[in-house]
């Protein structure tokens, strides 16, 4: 008989005009890993914000019982004092401070006269780093660590606060497979140390791998809580979307024509360190109506390749040739690349893709204002009409195209990005992680859009680290590792195993 460390009873949270949570009940047993799944906007984050005191007591209805005691948190410090620590998707580390300084930020170890005891700080930090399996000097600046290691620093920070219940909001969203595995192992080992975890995740296979219990939330309601033995991907998906997704990928009958784009011997070096080759002699092509995948781990040079190709937006000492319909074209600036029929939808919507403070309309027109120009001025009404057309055809869920993009969900933001590039009327679209951070239902819609583009005779290149996705939608897949193309597989012959073999193929060292 296990006892519950946490019971959230009938939590209801209302924002003006909308019930974000409706009588949600969540029981978490001591020492378990409890996964919470749900589409974006289902209420997962709201629930965790209620739990951690971001939404203070009194702004919601219902009770929180932690370790058999009803608690009323006024802010995060209250919840941390009880041993509840939340690690957000966007890490909250200060890049220019050292690992140790970050771990003990606002929790400093003080010596005489209230001054910081650096020896003790660094020693304690080392011990915590050992617990999370991070071999780094505690005086290293966080800036110099990869995302995976930064995540571990966050967990070490949580441990320093004597955490009892650790909440991780999409911890592996930005990690490659190796770092993800390490993190998941760490969560399991913390479980051995009697630390309970709640993990919010979109990745169903990892949920299956580590969680003891899964609670699915949809439309602000807890749909069901499933014990480990009964967890299947199909059941979770069904709960999440409220319907059976017969196929997670829409049917796609390719009509592949002649070659549209060919890239030859594409090479680029690191912008700050011109001796480091990041894109190494890449040769790829895409045909009319074809969906080509580029599979690679994070850091393999996928984005670097795409961005260096798209108007030299990344890297230095770029060389190589690009041919469209057999004729050499130049892509030295982004506007030249666009004029030559290329489009690149970034993997990082918020940083590189959208103007979040602007409305949908102006985001869609941003790359093609010249099309709306009449007598030197932008035709507002035409712009509205165009944007509204995309709102309908792409099923962008917003009251009107005058809504600010920053207020949309990830899936709808991605549809705005795609609309922007489709409106620029390219021949080849490069989509970098087009479904990152968006929920299952919206993913399906994005795949449908990709199919539609191919059916219209465009060439589509999809860069992704999710192999099932590439296998589900592509006609042909390249694998990339250490900046080189290490394999090319037609879909009929592609399996996860072959792709992973190519994706992890290292250069021969001399």
């Amino acid at each position: 008989m296990t006892t519950n460390i946490l019971e959230m009873r009938n939590i209801t949270k209302t924002f003006p005009g909308v019930k974000a949570l409706q009588a949600v009940t969540l029981d978490v047993a001591r020492g378990e890993v409890h996964a919470i799944c749900g589409e974006n906007g289902a209420g997962k984050s709201t629930l965790m914000k209620v739990l951690s005191g971001v939404y203070p007591f009194g702004t919601y209805d219902g009770d929180i019982v932690f370790e058999n005691e009803t608690v009323e948190f006024r802010d995060i410090r209250d919840s941390e004092a009880k041993g509840i620590v939340i690690i957000h998707q966007e890490l909250a580390l200060s890049p220019y401070l050292s690992i140790a300084e970050n771990i003990f930020l606002n929790n400093e170890i003080k010596g005489p006269f209230g001054l910081i005891d650096w020896n003790k700080t660094n020693t304690e930090a080392s011990k915590l780093l050992a617990r999370v399996g991070l071999r780094e000097n505690p005086t290293t600046k966080v800036l110099d660590l990869g995302v995976g290691k930064q995540q571990l620093v966050e967990i070490a920070k949580a441990l320093s606060k004597r955490v009892k219940l650790l909440i991780l909001d999409e911890p592996t969203a930005a990690l490659n497979d190796e770092d993800s595995d390490h993190l998941l192992d760490l969560i399991l080992s913390l479980k051995g140390q009697n630390i309970t975890s709640i993990i919010i995740s979109h990745k169903l296979n990892e949920i299956k791998k580590i969680s003891d219990t899964v609670t699915v939330i949809r439309d602000g309601k807890a749909i069901e809580t499933i014990p480990k033995l009964d967890v299947t991907e199909e059941r979770i998906i069904k709960d999440m979307v409220g319907r059976d997704l017969e196929h997670r990928y829409p049917d796609h009958t390719p009509h592949i024509g002649e070659e549209i784009l060919r890239v030859e011997n594409w090479t680029a070096y690191h912008p700050q360190d011109p001796t480091r080759i990041m894109v190494d002699n890449i040769n790829v092509n895409v045909k009319r109506g074809e969906i080509v995948g580029i599979a690679g781990l994070m850091g393999a040079g996928r984005t670097e390749f795409a961005m260096s190709l798209f108007g030299r937006s990344y890297g230095t000492k770029i060389s190589g040739r690009v041919f469209k319909h057999g004729v050499e074209i130049k892509t030295r600036t982004v506007s030249e690349a666009i004029a030559n029929g290329l489009a690149y939808a970034t993997e990082d919507r918020k940083y590189y893709g959208l103007n979040l403070i602007e409305d949908i309309k102006r985001n869609i027109s941003m790359a093609s204002l010249s099309k709306l120009e009449r007598g030197g001025l932008v035709d507002d009404n035409k712009e509205y009409e165009v944007a509204d057309g995309y709102r309908k055809s792409m099923n962008i869920k917003a009251p009107s195209v005058l809504s600010k993009v920053g207020k949309l969900s990830g899936g709808n933001q991605q549809k705005v990005v795609l609309s922007k590039w489709i409106y620029s009327d390219p021949d080849v679209l490069i989509l970098d992680e087009p479904t990152r951070g968006i929920d299952v239902g919206a993913k399906y819609e994005i795949y449908t859009i990709i199919n539609r583009l191919a059916a219209e005779g465009k060439g589509v290149i999809v860069i992704s680290s999710e192999l099932p996705e590439l296998l589900g939608i592509c006609d042909r897949i390249y694998a990339i590792a250490e900046g080189r193309i290490t394999g090319e597989v037609p879909i009929a012959e592609a399996t996860p195993e072959t792709l992973i073999k190519y994706m992890t193929m290292e250069k021969e060292r001399i």
Binding site: G41, S45, V334, E358, M366, V378, K404, S409
Partner: protein, 413 residues
């Protein structure tokens, strides 16, 4: 990840089920309220005017004072136009006061010391203003030095060069044509009437153009199936604006007619308003300020836009320098001192965002007018310069605080 994302859609869906009469009324009301919220700055201006009209026992809105308000603040408003554009792009310009002084001093050399024709002196001076802007724009756009640093350096450089040009002396006695920029009035040619018919005529033409244009815009939107404001509110706003313009014109007409400075300003507001709202260049400025990386990856030539933005700022700073010099009939080493702060305040009071991407020409003008009315009103009341400074500082702080509060409440973050 936002949990609120479907809220607006839900709201409209829910609205559809409500009793239609109620719904229409509440929708109109909420439209009016949201409009008032968006145009809070206009209401603030009206409040400030009313308060000082009372505090000064009606002196504020006397014809002569209304005319003075424009002429005294013209150069700040000219600077505010350029400044809000720079701020929208995510930059700042601290050098405009020094650049204004520098160009004013050079115009003195051209028009007085060298005795060039006034028009040539003006053209040359404006070209030099643009060149100064190009110099700063080069460092900001192509070398990548933050505008704060470049223009802080520019503030020192051009103040220093002003002293070099003037040799620590004032230049005065400008030709009449030049002086008209700051002191001239256009009045009717037929002789002295009590109320200048030309001024009233121009005002009426302006109103007609405004009304026709508003109706055309509204019709255009409707024909594309866009939501427009309720007809009653649309008419009410036009009536209010018409009344304000007529009153303003009447005040000018009973004094000396239309100040040349006002004509310069009106032309600038019209041109730059269109540039910011409707031109591709203006759109690119907003895109750059909203998200530089996204703008770059959308094919916007961000460096070129930034460069021209500062060329334009230099040009406007030069123009402001000319208007100021013309008004004083004197080019002095202290000219333009603190102008940059008033122009920056005007832009921020007018709703520009410190982080870039947000701001309008109209807002900056109204912000500048608020500062102008504060200056003028407090001077009439005999309040010393020390308190004027303190009050203006407080108003800036409160205006931006109000803006931040508003954004938070609307859930922007």
């Amino acid at each position: 990840m936002s949990d609120l994302e479907t809220k607006p859609a839900d709201d409209t869906a829910a609205g559809g089920r409500v009793n239609p009469v109620d719904n229409k009324f509440t929708r109109s009301l909420s439209h009016v309220l949201s409009d008032l919220g968006k145009n809070g700055i206009f209401i603030a201006l009206i409040l400030v005017v009313v308060v000082f009209e009372i505090l000064t026992n009606g002196v504020l809105l006397r014809p002569q004072n209304v005319s003075n308000l424009i002429v005294q603040n013209g150069y700040i408003l000219i600077l505010a136009i350029g400044m809000v554009m720079v701020i929208v792009a995510g930059h700042i310009d601290l050098s405009v006061g020094s650049v204004a002084a520098f160009v004013g001093a050079l115009s003195g050399v051209f028009a007085v010391s060298m005795g060039l024709p006034a028009w040539l002196a003006i053209v040359l001076s404006l070209a030099i203003g643009a060149l100064v802007g190009a110099w700063q724009g080069f460092w900001i756009a192509y070398v990548g030095i933050p505008a704060f640093i470049v223009t802080l350096a520019g503030m020192l450089i051009f103040r220093g060069l002003t002293l070099v040009v003037l040799g620590n002396q004032n230049i005065g006695s400008f030709p009449d044509f030049y002086r008209a920029l700051g002191n001239g009035f256009i009045t009717d040619v037929f002789g002295k009437l009590q109320v200048d018919p030309l001024t009233i005529g121009v005002a009426i033409i302006a109103i007609v153009v405004l009304v026709v244009q508003s109706i055309r815009t509204r019709r255009g939107r409707q024909s594309y199936g866009q939501a427009v404001e309720p007809l009653g509110w649309f008419i009410a706003k036009l009536v209010l604006v018409t009344a304000a313009v007529l009153l303003f014109a009447y005040a000018l007409a009973t004094f000396k007619g239309i100040p040349v400075t006002l004509i310069v300003l009106a032309v600038l507001i019209l041109i730059y308003g269109i540039v910011m709202n409707r031109s591709v260049f203006g759109r690119h400025i907003y895109a750059i300020g909203g998200n530089l990386h996204a703008a770059e990856l959308s094919g916007i030539k961000t460096r070129i836009v930034t460069f021209w933005l500062f060329v334009n700022m230099g040009f406007l700073a030069g123009l402001a320098g000319l208007v100021f010099t013309a008004r004083l009939n004197l080019a002095g080493p202290k000219a333009g001192d603190g102008f940059e702060l008033e122009a920056i305040s005007a832009a921020f009071i007018g709703g520009a965002a410190v982080t870039g991407g947000v701001g309008t020409i109209g807002g900056a003008i109204v912000g500048g007018l608020i500062i102008g009315v504060l200056n003028n009103g407090m001077s009439i009341m005999g309040i010393g310069i020390e308190w004027q400074q303190a009050v203006k500082g407080l108003v800036l702080l409160l205006a931006v605080a109000f803006d931040v509060y508003n954004k938070r409440r609307s859930g922007g973050r």
